[in-house]
């Protein structure tokens, strides 16, 4: 070659990892036994394994939070650990933004920030945070393997054994993908766990992929997405659900689908064993779902409407029901579910015929928005679930019919198309868009104004 190779170490990353691991071992001393670090040493551990400018994934799911590690990261010495580039799907906890106020982190690539949306907008306005981009989940995950690979991942699991094998329980969510991207590019993986066990119920992530395990003083936080009272569903929502079933589900034989969360789609789920059954639609619609285990799906499951449900995450309180219905859900040999946001988003993108959700704003071209002035809430999964997947090649009746209807001229190459339904309504003065979703999210600490972007 004419161009001489410039001096280049080919194992800078692995060498840096070895040096960091050695520093951590030296500093923690007896506070580290094998891979297991004492909770009291975690701040010190993070100071040794994270370097200025690192890309760090602080999990950061739609539901499960590595909250203990998040708090620890806010307590590192900012003169040692600073200018971190946070690459995490969800900015959910106050600590996720404290990092920026304290000068520990400076750059953010993310997908969804619902609970912190207003504060995030303020910090961006104050130039405390440089946003790389706002992504749909699967898009951000894909960048973990291309140009946003984490140097350090701080994740959460239900349990670990002494070797460092991890058991996630039903809220597997993003964890396996985050760990794979980090561990196989010479990064460092730290897992907080609720318990240390001699023998795990099952292994979700092999010990080889994990460098440190910390037993957290408190179980990790899981955001309940679906705490709701079906009695709050309004007459209008029941009527709209009947219109959707009769006018869309029955017309298109919508058999593989995703629902957003909210009372509107909950009403559809609840009406399957009665109204849809009376229309003779059992076995024709709604058999295969990419969906969290919504409690409002239970009547349809019990009526034999549903054949399978693959899930992004779980729903608190649904553990026993899932365990009793292994034909329907994806469960492990231990009986608990393994969710997987990456694969469920892929299923929603390529194997579902319909995505139905709500939106705050929509224009005449059908562009919809969940962002409003003063809030940077992000997208979550909606743009991926709701995009017509143009790489799709397999046909279903729903896909072909929607494609025929969308064809503009007879000269075009015929192709199918995904059905995307956005429901929105006009409001009387006592009926704000805000309130309908607030009711749905009973455990919310503050009002929320979106419903479909989270899955």
């Amino acid at each position: 070659m004419n161009a001489p190779a410039e001096p280049h170490g080919w194992n800078r990353l692995t060498r840096a990892r070895e040096e960091r691991l050695a520093r951590a071992t030296a500093r923690l001393g007896a506070g580290l036994r094998g891979k297991v670090a004492d909770a009291s040493n975690v701040v010190a551990l993070l100071e040794e394994i994270i370097a200025p400018g690192d890309r760090v994934c602080l999990e950061g799911n739609n539901q499960k939070q590595a909250d203990f590690l998040a708090r620890a990261l806010t307590r590192v010495d900012a003169s040692r650990v600073h200018d971190l580039h946070m690459v995490q799907s969800v900015v959910a906890l106050p600590e996720h933004l404290d990092l920026f106020e304290q000068g520990i982190a400076s750059r953010l690539d993310f997908s969804f920030s619902g609970p912190q949306a207003a504060r995030l907008a303020r910090l961006v306005g104050d130039r405390r945070i440089a946003i790389g981009a706002i992504h749909t989940y699967l898009e951000l995950f894909s960048r973990y393997f291309v140009d946003l690979t984490p140097h350090v991942a701080l994740v959460a699991a239900q349990a670990a054994d002494r070797e460092g094998n991890l058991y996630t329980g039903p809220n597997t969510e993003d964890t396996p993908l985050i760990v794979e991207a980090t561990a196989f590019k010479s990064g460092i993986v730290v897992a907080q766990v609720n318990e240390l066990l001699e023998k795990l119920p099952r292994v979700d992530i092999p010990a080889d992929w994990v460098n440190f395990v910390v037993r957290s003083p408190n179980p990790h936080y899981i955001e309940p997405l679906f705490t709701r009272d079906p009695a709050q569903i309004s007459e209008i929502q029941v009527l709209m659900a009947m219109m959707a079933i009769r006018g869309v589900y029955a017309e298109y034989d919508v058999d593989r689908l995703n629902h957003g969360i909210g009372f509107d789609t909950a009403a559809i789920e609840l009406l399957l064993p009665t109204y849809a059954m009376a229309l003779g639609l059992k076995g024709r619609i709604c058999r295969h779902w990419a969906l969290n285990p919504h409690p409002t799906l239970i009547p349809a499951i019990e009526a034999g409407f549903v054949e399978s449900v693959h899930s992004f995450g779980s729903e608190l309180g649904m553990e026993d029901y899932i365990r009793a219905r292994p034909d329907i859900f994806f469960t492990g040999p231990d009986g608990s579910m393994r969710s997987n946001r990456a694969f469920c988003q892929t299923a929603g993108h390529y194997a579902c015929d319909m995505f139905i959700g709500s939106t705050l704003q929509i224009d005449l071209q059908g562009n919809s928005s969940t962002a409003t002035l003063g809030r940077i809430a992000g997208f979550g999964g909606a743009p991926n679930m709701g995009a017509d997947a143009r790489g799709r090649r397999h046909a279903t009746r729903a896909w072909l019919k929607a494609g025929r209807e969308a064809q503009r001229t007879t000269h075009e190459m015929p192709r199918g198309r995904k059905l995307v339904c956005r429901r929105w309504k006009r409001f009387a003065s006592t009926w704000s868009p805000r309130s309908s979703n607030d009711w749905m999210r009973g455990n919310s600490r503050k009002p929320r104004t979106w419903s479909s972007r989270r899955s």
Copy 2:
């Protein structure tokens, strides 16, 4: 509820699995120690764990083949095991189609069948095979979690330990996803391995997810995709590569990309450290790749052009080079690569700005085809890699520029767009499209007529 639940077992799948496992244990007797079955008992094993009508994934990758299990499946008693629905990404081996001629299988959902394309077309014409659909890889994978979940998966790995943990080596490919979909929906997973080890170099798939391990008499077959002689690259291909670098890569700052295989893109890879360097493009283009470890990328890597490569599969003969360049490739603690077709396809879909490949036929709208009369070759990864991902939200210069150029009116909402390049040429009588790719695939057992659809 008004509609009474009909009689319904909620653990039919787990009960069926238990019954099948018990039958296998009884029949194999001393031929089964823990999860490890003797190779001589594999036909009997398959007869006990597979039932008529089952969906079966017989791996079946673009490269790595569970060939021993494929041969065993062709030898089961077709009066006991029949009407199987094969769901596998690649139909590569003669045995994959023998199953249909022998009445063991009757239905096929797949992605790519290059080596068997002509025979497949004949069998479909003779009504021996009912094709469900032809998918792009990621699309088929997504259906494993929705409506095409395998009841039984027959996979291949490099090694297993006695507990059933699997080590794939660099050709990880589709295996983790296949096993996850099967194991967590109460299916049965059988792995053929080249060796049984006391301690694996690393764990790629946890033992909990695997039911049986068989040491194959011969190492599994891996199809070499890239056996080539750069001296065969023609002057025209060098000229076209220079035009691509100057006219596309430099104009759009194409920095994250996938290449198809073939001499055309190999020429581009080889010209990066010379022609592209002379144009001052180092650090501006071609830093991040979703690509198998092409040998023709080595000069660019050595020149410091390349920062990272995530791979669908591997390339035979590249193992030592990958091990010596952990900064570039995704390698495990053991030093060997972990590839992952699902995540690399996702990266190609969402995190790459350009897909460049060849095609046999193209129309004026840009629709391209790799299928011709008398051959059903399937799509592989191309439609996914080449589709404009409309769920994408993050911006790059390449994506924005391509989007601006594609905008039809100034009233449209501006958005970015993926660059998709298809190269094709007109041929003199001595220069057929067939030959250019045949050269590239030196180990091919028969001429091939495609180059870009495999990745």
